[in-house]
Amino acid sequence: MSEDPTPAEALEAIARSRRTVHDRVAAGGWRYDLTYAAIVAGMVGGQALDIPFNVLASTLGVLALALIFQHESRRTGLRITGVSPRRARWVAIAMGLLFAAVMLGVVYLRRTASDVPVGLVFAAAAAVAFGLALIGSRIWRRVYRAEMGTGE
């Protein structure tokens, strides 16, 4: 690129730089998404357990999420929280609401249907949360990629 790029050259340079960022984030993305989904599954499914194990599941889950975020930041040289990109943040917010809904559903089920085995509730909630987290992560990446491509 010249020292005084034309508008078209400058826009192309911006798009190229953003592709570099996206490519770094995308590399190893499946491993991150699977780990993330497993942690969320433990947190959500853990709400089926009695006190203090449900609190422990939430606490350990938050710690694990912080650890994989740190690890990913060091690996890519980039820090991107789920709610930072203007459009992709809505995917992250929707995911958070869905996880909260499943958690509340688990708590409600445990209180109203105490005859249902804890293990079954745990497994079902964890499976649902895992699926939602994995699908949500992949959608978030698609929206983020589209956002990077718009030059905004």
């Binding site: 190229r16 730089s17 060091r74 040289g77 929280t81």
Partner: protein, 108 residues
Amino acid sequence: MSRVPQFDPVIHAPGRLQICAILSAADEAEFAMVRDAIAVSDSVLSKHLKQLEEAGYVRLRKQAHAGRQRTWLSLTPAGRTAFAAHVAELQRLAAMTAPEPLGQGFSG
């Protein structure tokens, strides 16, 4: 974020434009990552960052990890606004200078 098109000479220089483009796509980016992405030396990147920092567009944060110091860069709110306005102006100018599309059906 302001979308009013406004050309910004501080951002428009090629190196700084690429730095802002990378930082606009993340909350923070590490110094070494940005240096490698735009293929410049440490000193050249530092010079660009100094200019962006003086303009109030970039913030630097140092963090020690495993006995090694890392520098994280981020755009300030003013930097994000200025970059968005600059991109909007580039898009406006590019649209003005784009060639007229050929008519359909009579070009052959």
